[in-house]
Symmetry: C2
């Protein structure tokens, strides 16, 4: 320990913080220092919040959302429309759609997208359980709300083929100019999609 | 809870993570999700590391460093040269100098810089204790290793005046072109300083 810059306890804290997305080695050091300096109003509450998360939060066996109740509060909500399943790649996408407040149906989190080079095939994603849910008699629509990336779109095509045997409408999100977007800053693909699916006003 | 996107426990975890430097609301959500998904190899170890930090890490009463021993291991190290005190603004600066391995002396962490508009005067910084340490008979040099910012430099001038009464050499770091720096990317102030303090080769 005498040889290292900081003690092993601080070193370990920095290393763990550096594994969070968005924090590199430098910002992890800053975060560790901030935690140590703000012991009572940040370090202790965060330690407690993590302990609570450890004990209480689990993954919903039905949709893959994370929540303190199982099934999650969305799957348990009787006001939700069970005839529509919205498929997303990650829980963060589910949260984004919930913040927008535009989904009345239920969700299904795949846990990522197909990426053969990274060893992520259909078996690594929650695709089998999605097909199972889509075959339920009360399900009428499956909205594939995957990212508009190459990986997201190829995952979407793969799932669409699997869903061909199910008696459901399969839909995707419209592509176009983002609200508030300036044409000059948009890529050619977005502009082409927005022109192609133009609508009469 | 039914109305919020995520449960109150996750919401609280995200809010606390967002208070870490370097994490905004969006990256805090990503970090929380990552913690929940990587329960065993990230969430639990981080919760434990924070608990250890809470119990064991304190601020060195002599120099202001953070460490698990008090005084810190640097102040206790007999191989360090007690005749030199290196004054830095924050513990992160101390860590940076220790990583460079260029300081043989002891440190003194001010806890920031003078910033009258933010209500940070000399009383809010560890300046009084620095003067006390500088008056000890075995101290011969005080190196003011403050940031080369307007605030750092004005804090340096303030401390230099206070140290005029002490029987110590007061020094500052040289200003110049950073190692590996390209002239085209440097600001005029750095270039002017590097030219002004040019040396014969």
């Amino acid at each position: 320990m005498a040889k290292s810059t900081v003690g092993p306890e601080i070193e370990r804290l920095i290393k763990l913080l550096a594994r969070l997305p968005g924090l590199g080695p430098r910002s992890a050091r800053k975060a560790a220092l901030s935690l140590i300096k703000r012991r009572d109003d940040l370090l202790i509450p965060l330690a407690e919040a993590l302990a609570v998360a450890k004990d209480k939060i689990s993954i919903c066996p039905q949709c893959g959302n994370v929540d303190t109740s199982s099934p999650c509060h969305l799957c348990q909500d009787p006001s939700r429309d069970p005839s529509m399943i919205v498929v997303v790649e990650e829980v963060g996408d589910l949260w984004a759609l919930e913040r927008a407040g535009v989904i009345k149906g239920l969700y299904h989190v795949l846990g990522g997208h197909l990426s053969p080079l990274d060893g992520i095939g259909p078996e690594q994603l929650n695709i089998g359980s999605l097909i199972g849910r889509a075959k339920a008699p009360d399900v009428r629509e499956v909205l594939l709300a995957l990212n508009a990336t190459v990986e997201g779109q190829s995952t979407m095509h793969y799932i669409r083929e699997l869903l061909a045997d199910c008696d459901v409408t399969v839909s995707e999100m419209q592509k176009g100019v983002p609200v508030g977007g300036e044409l000059d800053y948009l890529d050619e693909g977005t502009l082409a999609a927005a022109i192609k699916s133009r609508r009469q006003i």
